[in-house]
Amino acid sequence: MNEGTATARSTDRILGVNSWLVFLFLYAPIVLLMAFSFNDNSNVSIWTEPSFRWYGAMFQDTNVMNALRNSLIVAFFSTIVSTVIGTMLAIALERYRFRGRGALDGIAYLPIIIPDVTMAVMLLIFFFQVFGILDDLLGIQLRNGLGTITLSHIAFSISFVAVVVRARLSQLDNSLEEAAADLYASRWQAFRRVTLPLIAPGVAGGALLALTLSLDDVVVTQFVSGAGATTLPVYVFGLVRRGVTPLINAVSTLMLVASMVLVGISLGLQRGAEARGQKPADPDALLDDVAVD
């Protein structure tokens, strides 16, 4: 028996060492990159002294600031539209039986599985073809730009939102909605007062995922962006391919910090949802609310 616990302990130690090595592997590059962004020297590899020099340069760089603004505009619209459409898709697939449901169920997951590059190629050809037809038939001349980028981001985000919201919906007991209906709540009231509050954490999680996907995308955006209308990741990607500069380090650090803030919000929301989920008394209060309406 003693021998058994001894092997168990040594196995546990090996597992522990492996875990710390994995964490080191995951974090060392990020930490190093962040540290280098505070290096005053314009030669990236020679450390002189800490400074905010490159952050100053970044905020004065009109290209970076333009690209950042574009990114935020695209992410804003893409997140809102894909969250609404994706949530509706999740509700339809999870709660209703209708003709075409099977086909939609299959199509809805394809954008998640399909590789970026293929999605990019598809949308490039699509916009090229559609704009060509519009020009021929109506004489309307459209070009790639923020509009096409936003439409493309929505196209790949809908599915991700739907998956996240659907996961939340499937954990819920739909007898609550039925109870609301029994208490003469209209469909809309039942949705507004019962379903929506219950799936809110899922919707928020989906929205954050859509926001992250939009802010991070390089490949699809590069294919459907037009002259002068690039997003921050695409602009940085162009710079990175030419080499390493302290300015890119500063922009990268900014992007990393933004991602971390988003993770923080997302985890906070999850925590909140779990805390609320542990109190089953809540649905009663919700139903009272509906009855009063």
Binding site: S19, P29, I91, R101, I107, T118, I125, S175, V218, V219
Partner: protein, 302 residues
């Protein structure tokens, strides 16, 4: 959905007739359809139509100026897939994707196992530290390795300081492999963790009570029970690795062309859209095959 059986059928004033029931089902069906309609239209227009367009383009011809001619349909682009250069890129990409998946699995399994067997408090903290790189910008995380692996980067400098040669890994297949493993490792850890965390550990205890040793109980109980996580994680790593574009573009060199950047170059540089389309379809086909194969293999061990 398994709703707990509630009190009884809701009481209605009118008797439930088959007609009434059919009408209700019909109304319900229409409502569901209407709710799904925005997504249906959007995905049909901006996903299904583009997918069909790529398929159509793959049979078209490229004229001398680089424009695509949409008649004169042929199989030239597909024939070109079997030329030596393309096959070489295919094999290299496939190999790299398989090795990336294997390395991720090798390190992620014990890692996820370790996290899943900690106390709930510590587990949550460790999980947050896995989530941060998972959500962080992929481009930036890949770029970090360009800084590290460069000829003036820390690795090279350490080697020089120790009196060795400057190590230059950048623009090699090794650099691309490191970048892919780094980029997709969290995609492997999270499904593995999810599978291990919801496992019923009493089954392992039962195996031990029946005199199975640690290794046997792992092989016969833990591993089969965590198989869904292994399958999901492997697919999540393999598919983006096979189509990777950003990683080889930043860390790879001229001799490390992979499918992803090869496809991109057909559209943005060579302007051979028909061939690029055929390549895209070939990649999707391989992915589909690999996924189905892997699911089958995974299901067998369940």
């Amino acid at each position: 959905m398994t709703a707990p059986p509630l009190a009884a059928e809701p009481e209605t004033t009118a008797p439930i007739t088959p007609e009434l029931e059919r009408a209700a089902i019909k109304a319900e069906s229409r409502r569901g359809f209407l709710i799904s309609l925005p997504a249906f239209i959007y995905l049909a227009l901006l996903f299904v139509v583009p997918l069909l367009l790529v398929f159509v383009y793959s049979f078209a011809t490229r004229d001398a100026t680089g424009l695509t001619v949409l008649d004169d349909w042929n199989l030239e682009s597909y024939k070109r897939l079997f030329t030596e250069i393309v096959l070489e890129i295919f094999v290299r990409s496939l190999l790299l994707a398989v090795v990336t998946t294997a390395i991720c699995l090798l390190f992620s399994y014990p890692f996820a196992y370790y996290i899943a067997t900690r106390s709930p408090g510590l587990r949550n903290i460790l999980l947050i530290f896995v989530m941060i790189p998972f959500w962080s910008n992929f481009l930036v995380r890949t770029y970090a390795w360009r800084v590290i692996l460069g000829s003036e980067g820390p690795i090279s400098q350490i080697s020089l300081a120790l009196g060795g040669e400057p190590i230059r890994l950048l623009f090699t297949n090794t650099a691309v492999l490191i970048g892919l493993v780094y980029g997709f490792l969290p995609f492997m850890v999270l499904p593995l963790y999810a599978a291990l965390e919801r496992m019923d550990w009493r089954l392992v205890e039962a195996a031990r009570d029946l005199y199975a040793d640690g290794w046997t109980s792992f092989r016969k109980v833990t591993l089969p029970l965590s198989m869904p996580g292994v399958v999901a994680g492997s697919i999540l790593v393999f598919i983006p690795s096979l189509g990777a574009y950003v990683t080889p573009a930043i860390l790879g060199g001229a001799k490390t062309t992979l499918l992803g950047d090869y496809i991109v170059s057909q559209f943005l540089a060579a302007r051979n859209w028909p061939f690029g389309s055929a390549l895209s379809f070939a990649v999707m086909f391989v992915m589909l095959l690999a996924t189905i194969f892997y699911f089958r293999a995974g299901a067998k061990t369940l």
